[in-house]
Symmetry: C2
Subunit: 384 residues, 2 copies
Amino acid sequence: MAADSWSTTTSEVYQQIEQALAANSQFAVATIVDVEGTAYRRPGAKMVIESDGTSHGGITAGCLHDPLQKDANAVLESGSSTIVTYDLTNDDTWGLGLGCNGVIDVLIEPVDDSWQQVVDARANREACSLVTAIESDDPSIPVGARAVINERGSRANDRRIRERTPLPNSVIADIEADARTCATEGSTDRISVSTEAGEIVLVVDGIEPSQRLVVFGSQPDVHPVVRFAARVGLEVTVVTARGGRADDEMFPTADRVLAAHPSNLSDAGIDGRTSVLIMSHNFVDDRLALEAALDTEAPYIGLMGPRKRFEQLQSDLEEEGVELSKRDHERIATPVGLDLGSDAPVEIALSVVSEIIAVSNGRDGRRLVGQAGPIHDRQSVTSQ
Amino acid sequence: MAADSWSTTTSEVYQQIEQALAANSQFAVATIVDVEGTAYRRPGAKMVIESDGTSHGGITAGCLHDPLQKDANAVLESGSSTIVTYDLTNDDTWGLGLGCNGVIDVLIEPVDDSWQQVVDARANREACSLVTAIESDDPSIPVGARAVINERGSRANDRRIRERTPLPNSVIADIEADARTCATEGSTDRISVSTEAGEIVLVVDGIEPSQRLVVFGSQPDVHPVVRFAARVGLEVTVVTARGGRADDEMFPTADRVLAAHPSNLSDAGIDGRTSVLIMSHNFVDDRLALEAALDTEAPYIGLMGPRKRFEQLQSDLEEEGVELSKRDHERIATPVGLDLGSDAPVEIALSVVSEIIAVSNGRDGRRLVGQAGPIHDRQSVTSQ
């Protein structure tokens, strides 16, 4: 296990898979496909395991490291996918009264060419569903048989899968609508399908592209924002304001630094999975950047500064004939950030990045302790 | 300006001051003492400026870097403190319609031996108030005249101040109660005092010791928590659970790693400014650690795991005769963290550290955009 494998972001897990494919390395992927009772992570959570024991990401609170490694090695040796059930309800087995009182089903499989389509979909900013047989009475469909279906419903070109049994078209037809939904929502589902030869159970694992963050501004308070955002796996582009340099060394943790006129953010790659943060501290530039951001699909537009400043920006935009819609008001976050009560730049950055994560997951950032009901809204998982 | 001066934490600003004192370096400190209108930071915010232009921390959004440097150099040359007003309402002066529509008063002073008492107070985990004359009609009390008063009201030993005019005892008697309040609250105040020779205005700048975080656990999910906590300036101690190693290399960003029996956290330095986070994932150890944490002054006790697990812990404690008080229920945070909606370990860590910051500031982490009124509750500052 890498010393800090648990600081690995979801994006980094996919980068490991991409690198393993490119280098033809022997890597295994472990994906939680089902949880009964409580567990640390939800279905869809992934961990990459190398044959030498190095792992990236984590799917349990460390307790299953050794059994996972052993099972992953068996998969790498056989080249066949397998589904393993880890029962954590039995304290005597896993020792010392472990907190996870649950049973988790984990799909362990080799990183083979069926993953190339996931890597390609992410590179193309498309969500896809990885559909995999995890139980089967049909001898023609082994555990691990697979199809990749992207969010628009076009089935990826399975002729590119040579190292895995493809799922037959008849099965795909039955689950395609569900697979599209899971892709769009990034959710995970289990579906039973009857074939002529028997029953099969499929796991449909929706995989979204990385969340992006485009920061407009180049003042020093951009730095801590970029650092935190990169640390949680956002793909960060800094757009330096008018006259700013576009120098990667200015923001070493950003994925990209661009110089652009604030009225033209079209090179920044803003799509429906991109949060925009406007913090040039220049009133005119912020107005132009806000107007440009409103023309994109960005679901979140954070604007640094007090509410009164936004009201002035809005009134200036109205004078130009730009009226904000209800949807615009919903996506504009100003004052930006969660209420952490601190004015130190590094804590403001923490509050802004936390808000971006919360909004991308449809949450409001309030303390969990004050809320009733399970934390996760997917499936039956009730733990953290 | 250091490339990423704005990722400097408040703790690091004080560390710079401590190092400057130890090395007898020529450093200046700029402290915001008053804000009219909107500004980036609140009174009390500090920045350390070296004579070569290197700075640590930030008190404006970058716009005042050059004037601050010039004024700091003048202070370093003269050895005298000065108060400078920066008027950011005049766009033509600071250029391009800057967002900060405010006037800020900044005290610029040399790091001299009057700061040693602040450094000592922080090392002793005591809050203190730095009381400084910023206006004076009294010729015996120059701008910069100073006293340091700690939160218990005992005036620090001013015989140790040789490089600064001490405030007379008659003035201190007038403001001592306010100075104690500011120290305890970490707040900043301005007070006018009449002396026989005229009117003086004092700024009372409450300075608290660092917030501590004690994490009980050594599973891999501790790593991202420690990284984020250290990044925002919490002083982090990791207490490894039963059988765990106490190896600083395990958690390189922690200030300290201890091995302790979970029932004895007395070496961890838990005081009224310490958040405790219990995440050993071991039910018995967590119960013992919770019981030990409840015996401390910790205002926050985060407990990783689902609510049901806490209910089981509580019922076990009750069987032992340990009843939780209302105050205990208020300080126990479980499920731990702000609701960011993600289950990835790095995002859970973000949510937990954000909650710790919010709670230490008396906030609930909700999005600022949904809240009415000014963001900061101190003085008349209305900006971020």
